[in-house]
Symmetry: C2
Subunit: 493 residues, 2 copies
């Protein structure tokens, strides 16, 4: 570890500490801040982001990166991640970064109203400007990295996965869907109808149940909080994690499954390797890796038969009412119901990838310039029909539903489905290696699963890319057949 | 406004924005943070403080300050405050600042245990190191400013007031106390005994009442929050103010009067001149000025006869119980009870200045080197006995009670009593200028008082020093006879 590398470590720790401050202020903005604080908060976050950018792009960083030497797996990976971070930050002229921030912010504001009114024309010119600047950004990142423009955007969310790797995986899933979805629907129609849970579900009881379940997953409230926000998320820092949810007295599953989902993210952050805290190699391994950890908890473990056997009596104890509605079979029928809905965030785990595949294909042609923003609604509706056989009745249920593009996030969507597939692959490997894993889930014990994940995934930080991490944990790179096997077992066995 | 001054304004805005982020993270640490977040929060705050210090002491600042030109009252005052801030920041070597931060932090930690155990010997070596470094700090600030060492420390909390101005004010108060305190006690003993309020006082009802009262004072919850913390405070920023309190089901007056006190601080921050936000001249005018605003709300307005007539029925409506206990006379006897207690924060408004006078004298000789830390407990107890005629039974009720010195804050204490005196002076002027002010208080209406304060004090920002601000608002500099006249009227009339 030579002096140049030591200086870099100190500098990156400072940058990461600024990032922690931003994370806390971001959490506060969503969970605590009164409305009148918004303008000042925007300035605070912009100032911190500006200072972090200055620290990352200062002239001496390039000199230190050129002179730095590091040995050993972790330090070598750390230095490589420093080089990538610096290359990305210096690839973009400040004028482009600022123009993008302004365009994203303007578009996102207009989008909120446009979505509510299902009025694509209102947001179209703003989205066109966002796309124009994202194309420029992609070109600049491509020139600096040697990746294709779209891959260079994807790299910002999940390093080490290219569109060329993702496309055949998604094409195969499309074929699976064409075959399996009608079978699942037929089987579902044949079976007994789900009995809706009868509320109300008082918020204090929901809160206590959610807290208790998150503790079962492994969340330690000496290092975490559970609060409320309109859009649930996991924020904060590894030693001070903030998860949020949104309670409705009429409905319990959204808060419950939402908290389990966010807890999967939270425990990943909490278990990141402490000695590498505030270094690039000590961070999580990307958005697809992160989503695999929320989905293995929510979808693989907690919506599975074994855990539902445990959860039923918990629900009865928390909310009372008719015991039969909490029978595991009924919970399964309710919480694993498959339907060709238009809204991604409400989708079941079988149709969800179709929503992602549509977006993945559209954003490639938007960034590549083959699709004009004006033609997006039509392309969306055609694509949706092709994938799921139904046509969105309006743009609110079509291309206006997600914030991502309207806030300048292109290349993010594939992470959701890569994460779902990785979760199935990890669960299969955990089942093979951890004896009694499902018995434990039936007792509400997630410790065996979470211990395995800590060892195989969490403790690896960002040392490995997505594919190498899966190889380390499961002995093979991404294998989508584990996901389809999981779906067949759960929905068609 | 020449380019150098424009650059300085942009730089100081950036520094102030970092200060806002620190304020929010500090609030979170006291009101929200799980215990395990403490270590990382310390790093975050230290990093922000370090960056702000780098921005303030960068070499180009001195050049810009030398070249800057500003005209008009506000810009001239602003530039002068920039010069002072820069001079203070550059007067102290980084090694001294860091050594102080470490010594303060170490001492404060040990102090918590030492106070609980009333064990001065345990904290003595740590406090001695704090004092040693504060002496060095005072010397360095003195050399840079031309003020005496102790005055240079005071200047950090309330600019423009010297020990030489404060000493005769305090000496006169000592004489008043010697004469008036026995009279008040005699009169109190002769009168009817106060009937304690019978609880319990459910926390939700206390919270609703406190919120409603703070809104009457003028707090706008579109720009504020009321939360809970062990030690109540007012934090946040002018557009996003965070006040806290501490509820006990057994006792209602502490939370109630505490919230009114913090609301006085909060409304001051909220009413600071918006066009000068994030500039030195747009800040509050110092700690004594700030305390005058909390005390004019709590002590002058809300503990006065008129407001207690309004408050009694509010308490009855909130908590029920025997109506007689909420009679204004009884509330006055309860909440204006005078006694020679040992604890400053529990003191009534007559004896409170004695607590401050003792600390003011002791900290001058500690900083001057005439008093050794080892001799502090004896000097404290002797001084307390001389002022109030009783002797603290132990150091927990003596020199260990306050955090201030154990955290390196010397020169702060006078602000409390200067603020109390200024509050009386401002109230007298407001009464003379605002017709029907007490009638309004009797209706629970604070708007006439708060409007006058906004005009005369809040909107002035930090344009004027403490004395000039009082002259602007009341036509004269600090006149302690307004305070003693207030005390005579309230306790001896």
């Amino acid at each position: 570890m030579n002096p140049a590398y030591q200086r870099l470590k100190a500098r990156f720790a400072r940058i990461a500490t600024l990032g922690e401050a931003q994370a806390m202020l971001g959490w506060d903005a969503s969970a605590m801040m009164p409305p009148g604080g918004g303008a000042a908060r925007g300035e605070q976050l912009a100032t911190l982001a500006g200072l972090a950018h200055e620290l990352l792009t200062a002239p001496e960083v390039a000199d230190d990166l050129a002179a730095a030497e590091a040995s050993g797996d972790w330090d070598s990976a750390n230095l490589e991640l420093m080089r990538r971070g610096h290359a990305r930050a210096t690839a973009l002229p400040t004028s482009l970064v600022e123009a993008s921030a302004r365009a994203n912010s303007a578009c996102e504001k207009v989008w909120r109203g446009a979505k509510a009114a299902s009025d694509f024309a209102a947001v179209r010119p703003f989205l066109a400007e966002v796309v124009r600047l994202q194309r420029e950004t992609a070109q600049a990142l491509s020139a600096a990295s040697g990746l294709s423009p779209y891959d260079a955007l994807m790299e910002g969310y999940q390093r080490g996965v290219t569109a060329a790797e993702v496309e055949p995986v998604f094409t195969a899933y499309e074929a699976f869907l064409r075959e399996a979805l009608p079978q699942v629907e037929e089987r579902q129609a044949r079976g007994p109808a789900a009995v809706p849970l009868a509320g109300p579900f008082p918020v204090p009881a929901q809160r206590a149940l959610c807290r208790g379940l998150s503790q079962r997953v492994g969340l330690d409230y000496d290092h975490a909080r559970l609060d409320e926000s309109l859009h649930p998320f996991c924020g904060g820092t590894p030693t001070d994690i903030r998860i949020t949810t949104f309670y409705s007295e009429a409905e319990v599953s959204k808060a419950l499954m939402g908290v389990l989902h966010e807890t999967g993210h939270a425990v990943y952050e909490r278990n990141l390797p402490g000695p590498w805290a505030r270094q690039p190699v000590g961070e999580a391994a990307g958005m697809a890796a992160h989503e695999s950890q929320s989905l293995i908890v929510e979808m693989q473990a907690c919506r599975g038969d074994a855990f539902l056997r445990f959860l039923g009596p918990q629900l009865l104890a928390s909310f009372g009412g008719e015991a039969g509605q909490y029978a595991p079979d009924n919970l399964g029928r309710l919480w694993r119901h498959v339907s060709r809905g238009f809204i991604r965030v409400d989708a079941d785990e079988i149709t969800y990838p179709a929503h992602v595949i549509l977006r993945f294909r559209l954003e490639q042609v938007l960034i590549g310039g083959q699709l004009d923003v004006a033609d997006l609604p039509g392309a969306w509706n055609d694509g949706f029909h092709q994938l799921l056989g139904v046509r969105p009745p309006d743009d609110a249920r079509g291309c206006l539903q997600d914030i991502h593009w309207h806030d300048g996030a292109f290349g993010y969507f594939p992470s959701y489905t890569l994460g779902a597939m990785a979760a199935a692959q990890l669960m299969r490997a955990a089942r093979a290696e951890v004896p009694g894993l499902d018995d434990a889930l039936g007792q509400g014990e997630l410790a065996p699963l979470m211990g395995w994940l800590r060892d195989k995934v969490h403790s690896q930080g960002n040392r490995l890319g997505f594919q190498a991490l899966l190889r380390h944990a499961t002995g093979k790179p991404l294998d989508p057949s584990d996901f389809t096997a999981h779906l067949r077992a759960r929905y068609l066995a």
